[in-house]
Symmetry: C2
Subunit: 212 residues, 2 copies
């Protein structure tokens, strides 16, 4: 199994956490999103993933894009370490928290969007930072309220789920953009608990071979 | 079962299609995203969905947000009309196409983002349109290439899946913003096939009671 990713990609970071938690052996291959005008735009990578985004998982003959589809694949193929609750209501509610991040926060703040604000809309760095912080704070305020209802040791009850797997990379990103995280005590309680675990720690951007 | 939605919301539109295909009886309740400064921001709706977004599904005591989690709930609770392929690889690949839209296209172009461009970044309507078109065209170009590999009668093979359910609302939206869809023949072939089906037609924005 091979994961094409990038150290700072939140979406690749999610998959690295899941691989570690499920103890799946996987080769990590760096697609540098900045070098060479973005290696994700190369012809060979585009063949693998027409979206020209990371991550892409290759398992034998199959190549699969979209981090949430990859998490789903790993969940179905390697169910022993479950990363979703079993009961229907709990299952979909934990997923909803993950989508709160994957669909409503992250897509607005990834590298290509921030680049577009600079390069196409000629926005200054201060405006870019304001944009970033706006969408994270809007999203985290809602998530903070949701966690007050769902949180146990982790985002949804006492077991690690996709919600935590999506949350930790988003918090990493928010801190990079100097978002004041002290306004989100529920989020930070869960984050600190996850960060103390070796599976999360080893998946962190700074621990990756392509980190610069 | 009650679905809180809005006629023009792509995410609510997805759920309406799934409800129709699965023949599930569901009361549709309008949360007008523009009237009264946006009814999604009311205290009573915020209680139901802290994200202040539509849709929200209420089934008995349970309330669930995030359209992709709602599709999942319907899929697990009402499996008779399957909207995902059964085999693992096919299952996650169909989901990946749906996420191509739900995570990489739609979030950049929904109402709150376009409003932010106008109101906070003081961008003119022409720039807003350029923004909209840019992200749809980038996303649809990639999807067009993916469909060349996966398409049968529908986005993924010959059965309707989440990919079609996400695609039709996104095409509706793209046409509203005058995107030239003739550059995407695979997308339009599937779209026209879906639109001819009563379950898709009845879910369309113009058919909703709150359409104005």
């Amino acid at each position: 199994m091979k994961l094409f990713g990038y150290w700072r990609s939140s979406a690749a970071y999610r998959v690295r956490i899941a691989l570690n938690l499920k103890k799946i052996d996987c080769e990590l291959i760096s697609i540098h999103l900045v070098k060479d005008g973005g290696q994700q735009h190369s012809q060979s990578y585009k063949e693998l993933n027409p979206n020209e985004l990371v991550p892409t998982l290759v398992d034998g003959e199959m190549s699969l894009n979209q981090s949430m589809a990859i998490l789903d694949y790993l969940e179905q193929k390697y169910p022993d370490v479950a990363l979703l609750p079993k009961g229907l209501e709990d299952n979909v509610k934990a997923k909803a928290l993950a989508y709160d991040i994957a669909c409503d926060i992250h897509p607005l703040n990834n590298l290509r969007v921030l680049s577009y604000l600079s390069n196409e809309l000629n926005q200054e760095d201060a405006i870019k930072k304001q944009w970033y912080q706006h969408w994270v704070v809007v999203g985290f305020k809602a998530l903070e309220a949701s966690l007050a209802r769902t949180k146990g040791l982790f985002c949804y009850g006492d077991e690690i789920s996709w919600a935590d797997i999506c949350l930790i990379p988003q918090v990493y990103n928010a801190e990079r953009f100097n978002v004041d995280m002290s306004q989100f005590p529920n989020i930070m309680e869960v984050t600190n608990r996850c960060r103390a675990l070796p599976e999360f720690w080893a998946a962190a951007p700074e621990q990756q071979a392509d980190a610069t």
